[in-house]
């Protein structure tokens, strides 16, 4: 099946599903929405960490930038005459998500150009540092337009609720579709080449810095949109939503799923969003389980649960009957 068809088919299914969401218990709906947002976050980080091999620990920073910029735009628009219902609400959310995503992408560019000269653990620490810098800046910003507080520093920022099931999953679908298609395009092989052997890729005429920065900017763009969706669902954001611990949470999804496997990462995002909810009575043990999971996974199966596996490969194997052996 052509990917465009799959895309439309899944989208239609999601649209149909979205009508049933009114009947879902609000608690479960929240979990479902968070799964969708985490899929967006993890898939976009996978482009940087998994496919391009640049270990970033700052994804929550971009998410925070997107969340705050989107919230500023939507608050401004809704307090200046635009309604948050119906078509106007859709326009408000679309404008704020786009604004948040673009601003996050710009931040990604500003962070990426200097830090992508570094490798491995240094890159990880520097991106973590940028994450903290972004958080500290947000914590210190607070301004007022026409009587309404914006950003609100450490206190937090109230945001209108606009994100719906269809928005969250529609965007998750777009991100997955985009990342999968880029990676499997001729151009996208460059990302994989940079990951597998940077020197060899350079020798083949690939501008590795350019690919790294591109992966970073695209990843940051989607992270910003994910942040916007997040802000417009939980309705109250504080800088503490976007610490580097949040980044680590997303990184764990990518690692558990297998760096470089989109479907593995989606599955990991689902598991790691449901698991803490299911283990709510054991919430004290949640992070301990997470951390042990990381250590044991790294020792016994560093490629993640799914490694490089993809549905296509699996289906191909299954058709030829080799999957059984």
């Amino acid at each position: 099946m052509k990917p465009q068809f799959t895309f439309l088919l899944v989208f239609a299914a999601l649209a149909a599903l979205s009508f049933t969401m009114g009947a879902v218990d609000p608690y479960y709906l929240t979990v479902i929405i968070f799964i969708g947002i985490n899929i967006t976050m993890a898939t976009s980080l996978n482009l940087i960490n998994g496919f391009t091999g640049q270990f970033s620990l700052g994804h929550a920073g971009f998410m925070g930038v997107g969340a705050y910029i989107a919230a500023i735009i939507s608050t401004y628009l809704t307090t200046h005459g635009m309604s948050s219902d119906g078509v106007s609400g859709i326009l408000v959310l679309a404008a704020s998500l786009l604004g948040g995503g673009l601003f996050a992408a710009l931040t990604g560019l500003a962070v990426g150009i200097p830090s992508l000269r570094l490798k491995g653990d240094y890159l990880a620490i520097v991106t973590l540092g940028f994450n903290e810098i972004i958080r500290v800046i947000i914590q210190n910003v607070d301004f007022k337009i026409a009587g309404t507080h914006y950003v609100g520093g450490a206190r937090g920022f109230a945001v209108p609720q606009l994100s719906t099931f269809l928005w969250v999953y529609g965007i998750a679908l777009v991100v997955v579709y985009f990342v999968e298609n880029v990676i499997h395009s001729t151009y996208g092989r460059g990302f994989l080449a940079v990951r597998d052997d940077e020197v060899a890729a350079e020798a083949m005429g690939i501008n590795s810095t350019r690919f790294k920065v591109k992966a970073f900017v695209i990843g940051a763009f989607f992270a910003g949109i994910g942040g916007g969706l997040f802000a417009h669902y939980i309705q109250y954001i504080t800088p503490d939503n976007f610490t580097f611990l949040k980044s680590i949470e997303i990184v764990v999804m990518v690692i558990l799923g297998g760096m470089g496997s989109t479907y593995g990462v989606i599955l990991a995002a689902i598991i790691l969003t449901i698991l803490p909810e299911a283990l709510r009575e054991f919430s004290d043990y949640r992070m301990i389980i997470y951390s042990l999971l990381l250590i044991i996974l790294m020792i016994s199966r560093p490629q993640g649960l799914f490694g490089n596996a993809s549905i296509k490969k699996f289906l191909a194997k299954w058709k030829t009957g080799t999957a059984t052996n």
Binding site: S115, D121, G129, V136, V199, S291, I295
Partner: protein, 301 residues
Amino acid sequence: MGEILQQLVNGISLGAIYALIALGYTMIYGVLRFINFAHGDVFMVGSFVAYYTATAVSKFFPVGSVPAAIIIFLVSMVFCAVLGATIEFLAYRPLRIRPKLTVLITAIGVSLFLEYLSQLLFGATPRGFPEIISNAPFYKSKLVTINTVQTVVIITSLSLMLVLRLVVMKTKIGTAMRAVSFNQQAASLMGINISSVITFTFMIGSALAAAGGVLYGAQYPSIDPLMGIMPGLKAFVAAVLGGIGNIPGAAIGGFIIGTVETFIAGTFLSTYRDAIVFAILIGILIFKPSGIMGKYEAEKV
């Protein structure tokens, strides 16, 4: 003038603690070429061990007396040395030939594990650290006041650094450490037991972090399971500033970062101080990745 002098004293006593933690980062980087993310949490464990030891010791010696302080230091340092060696043995040793990224992720895992295990064991609420070293002024003039605890912090750190210097430069194991950090393969061909050198390095580094944890608790008497994150990251910045892998560099870097942070905290930028420390890190890594005292290493293909 007086204020500047006072800030300098405060900065140096904070920097002394950063320097102790930074030494561990730099030594472990020297032998294993990786950043031990969990180092800041070993520092936190050091503080908590000291907290409980202080309660236990108070039955025999009054809190604040010299023997009590010495016992607290020793117990905490020995405990963390064993902890460091255990972490190395369980988590890092199986990964020694794996890609660096795998080890880094494991280190993040170990760090989270220590933080949240401590939260489970000790509770998340901050605790008041007993006054194991007196807080009274040691030296007081019109310009500047130096507390006893600040004096002890500075003297203890400097003497520990001196001991470390002697161990690294004069003893057999120290020579082995330098050999391993210079060229691991060649060192092993010369009959050096790499594993025991690495274990030893972890023990020394963790013991220094524990000493830092006790001093930190004495100086800023509130401890909690997540207290290791920020000092740990700042000490890492100090290690990079001094030139990672370079022991005197880490000490100098620690003092610089501590002083800079204290001075920033005294200005209108005080709420930005964590951000500025990270900005320093980014600046160094971009303009002079080898740090103040480090050597430039060309990348080999």
